[in-house]
């Protein structure tokens, strides 16, 4: 019945200024600027090929925009590798699930703790002392996430054998395990039925509420976007055509023309 809560955020966590990105002459993003504030749920919407995934790829360092700058936590970022972004607290999930198919659910989520595990090869080989303690300590964290996402029963199942919806959930778990400050979700609800979407929304909201994680998500289901996000950016053909609270965006004629169509 209700739509977005009136929440307001002031601290800018990440800002994107005048970014342009092209592949072999084809412009994927043109002169885009927006910001993500600490603690909010930010949605990016737009038609297919609008450059939404490219945008996320720029944010986490997989693509390097030819122009413009990204400022994260007040620091202007130079060209960096994705793992460096991860080290700074940016985690993400993928449009086409990018789980490690050969590993179990547990191991997949444990990889999310990777950045925080420090013991070297030697102790690992012996698996005594620090290595063992570290493993157990992180296992506890991971078990809490498994609990939170209600995937206890598939703990030891290779993820390749799981149905799509569960895989998405495991992927979220892996991202959460990194305890990120900024969580990028690329179509977390694609291919889910209603019930699964409801569950997923719940998880997203809880992560946001309980851990204070800032979330930036790409989603096609307008119901979801309008309901859970605080602010929405709309992209079309690599350009920004709208930005604002869900209700404003929904009424924006440019957005309706380019994306929502008449039925919404």
């Amino acid at each position: 019945m209700t739509t977005a809560r009136a929440r307001s955020f002031t601290d800018v966590l990440l800002s994107v200024e005048n970014i342009s990105l092209s592949f072999g002459g084809v412009k994927a993003l043109t002169n885009i600027s927006f910001d993500i504030r600490k603690g909010e749920i930010r949605a990016i919407i737009g038609p297919n090929g609008a450059g939404k995934s490219s945008m996320l790829n720029c944010i986490n360092g997989f693509y390097h925009p030819q122009e413009g700058a990204i400022t994260y936590k007040g620091q202007r970022r130079s060209r960096m590798r994705p793992h460096a972004a991860a080290e700074q607290g940016i985690a993400r999930t993928f449009q086409n699930i990018a789980l490690f198919r050969g590993m179990s659910t547990l191991d997949n989520i444990m990889t999310g703790r990777n950045l925080r595990m420090r013991t070297g090869l030697f102790w690992q080989a012996l698996r005594l002392g620090p290595a063992d303690r570290e493993e157990i300590e992180h296992r506890k964290v991971v078990e809490r996430i498994i609990d939170f996402l209600e995937i206890q029963h598939i703990r030891k199942v290779p993820v390749g054998q799981l149905p799509y919806g569960l895989q998405k959930r495991v992927e979220l778990g892996r991202a959460l395990a990194a305890e990120p400050e900024l969580l990028l979700l690329d179509e977390p609800m694609a291919g889910m039925n209603l019930e699964e979407k409801q569950d997923m929304c719940r998880f997203v909201l809880d992560v946001n509420d309980e851990f204070g994680t800032t979330i930036c998500l790409i989603e096609h289901d307008m119901g979801v976007v309008m309901d859970i996000s605080d602010r929405v950016v709309v992209l079309d053909y690599g350009k920004k055509i709208g930005d604002g609270a869900p209700d404003e965006v929904k009424r924006d004629q440019a957005v309706i023309d380019a994306y929502l169509g008449v039925s919404h």
Partner: protein, 358 residues
Amino acid sequence: MLYREAGQFKASYQADQAIFPVAQDRLVMLALLVIAFLVVPFVTSEYVYRAVLIPTVILSLAAIGLNVLMGYCGQVSLGSGAFMGVGAYAAYNLAVRLPFLNPFVCILLSGFVAAAVGIVFGIPSLRIKGFYLACATLAAQFFGDWAFLRIKWVTNYTPSGSVNAPPLQLFGWDLSSPTANYLVALGITLALALAVKNIVRGHIGRQWMAIRDMDIAAEIIGVRPLYAKLSAFAVSSFLIGVAGAMWAFLYLGSWEPAAFDINRSFSLMFMVIIGGLGSILGSALGAIFIVLLPIFLNQALPPLGAAVGWQISTATVSHFESMIFGALIVFFLVVEPHGLARLWSIGKEKLRLWPFPH
């Protein structure tokens, strides 16, 4: 009905993360260890030691090493023969140049040399993937072949380029008997296998597997490809190098570079794939299979031929061996692309469900 895990509960994460969480498995493993260390030495002939047990044990270690790279980190390598060679020649040089070192110390140190070389040859993997990488590793193989032959320092200026292992001793005991060779090889292999098992179930192993399964995603969640790939190359080369040193010191005794040529690389790859990518046990099973098969065919074919009145020459045997070997590889891949290790676990699964079909 014997193989059930019902009633075995795990009360701690340690217990849950154990290598053999099922009690029956632990028992079987223990029994195998007892047999390997305590029974085998009393019942085995020298031939079985020399022709079967020692090569199997040593090659198992090499296969485990290759499996770290191929099975766990997903980097295909055709240069493992050369890395065995690096280990062998490193051990030889250590033994020759630092005569006060015990040969066993040389064997272990040679692993580090091989690891260093492995890191160098692993650098291209940061940019090159898949079959291109496989071919690129052939550069390591051929460069190794060449270096062992041509760089005279490597062979300590022996005129023919063939070198000998030093006599094996430890604390004054002579360890050159086949039994001693076997026990030493088995001990080193098991210890290193355990270490590898520990690594692959820890966070470093998970990094490798992440890189293997999806390198982009791995990097995005914070795995450094540089570190993950090179550490896999290092660990893999270490194991292969130690195996190479043992191959030279414990098995061949005297060798020429041809002992570490491309055929060695191929046979290691067979072991890994037939045994099962990403399985320590599989590496050993693969090694057993690849070592035993030719011996078995060699002994079984002539009597079989004679039984149907056909005199089989060694040439025919060896052509047949080649054919059967090839056919079996294909057969195994068709039946179970994930190798003997998977067959093994399916067998266990069946046993667990037995007598119910599902």
